[in-house]
Subunit: 159 residues, 2 copies
């Protein structure tokens, strides 16, 4: 059965990618644990960080930045609003869009959570030379561009 098909784990790039995926998974797991004291989870942190950087962003724009569907935001944001972390205010110009803002509570939770995440990343990645980290980031950014263009092609031409 393995006669004519080269097995994936013989491909160096395949093996590399699997390692990347596993590392992401683990990092997520550990981050989840460390965030429990703040009673938030990674998806919410992603949202908070983006609101911290881009105050007044719309739900649509936020979903695009996070690479998730709009419906995701429609489910998550009202919960965060009820918890007093964010506010949603309608845009004056365009009555369709809701613009998002951090509350003071949300801002301080975000700062604490960013501190935790930054510390985790520094701690676990500090043994890797900075050159190597930067090179990896550049590879990943090229990968992101490639994959995003592929996704856009698919949705333009859904034949």
């Amino acid at each position: 059965m393995n006669k004519n098909q080269p097995l994936p784990w013989d491909h160096p790039r395949f093996r590399s990618w699997i390692a990347v995926a596993r590392a992401c998974q683990l990092m997520q797991t550990v981050l989840t644990r460390e965030l429990t004291e703040l009673d938030i989870k990674p998806p919410h942190l992603d949202i908070l960080i983006n609101l911290y950087r881009f105050e007044g962003i719309s739900q649509q724009e936020l979903a695009r930045k996070l690479l998730v569907g709009r419906s995701n935001m429609s489910m998550a944001l009202p919960l965060m609003e009820k918890r007093g972390l964010i506010e949603r205010r309608g845009d004056k110009q365009d009555k369709r869009v809701l613009r998002l803002y951090l509350t003071n509570e949300g801002r301080s939770v975000t700062e604490a959570a960013m501190g935790i995440q930054t510390a985790l990343i520094e701690r676990t990645l500090s043994s890797e030379p900075l050159d190597q980290c930067m090179a990896m980031a550049e590879s990943m950014e090229r990968l992101i561009v490639t994959l995003q263009s592929e996704i856009r092609e698919d949705s333009r031409e859904p034949a």
Copy 2:
């Protein structure tokens, strides 16, 4: 508010990691699309690949390899069994454990799916020099070791 706290996006390692995470997310999205023709999703592919490599593995061992909880396997595997992709047979020695095997159907689906995933990875990563891929893999493997030991510490000492 940003006076005394250094912002995460000023840390090069933080930025690098965010790029890694986004790339993983996108890769997952694209892989999901390309697997629809086989009617399976990435989590099932992960399972199939591991059964392909390690026939007769137990549910527990499989969960450990995939870095997911045992309950996850308890939910997913019966569905895959109903779809005729795998078989679960009780261990003769130890009546607690269920050992997992691919059916012929499962094996051919796995081979097709591995082909798709390998092609995707080769296609999107081929522009990165092999040295760079290997260096990244080594970094990620070190990261995995670090994070796993941290997880183990936590679960040993859950104070």
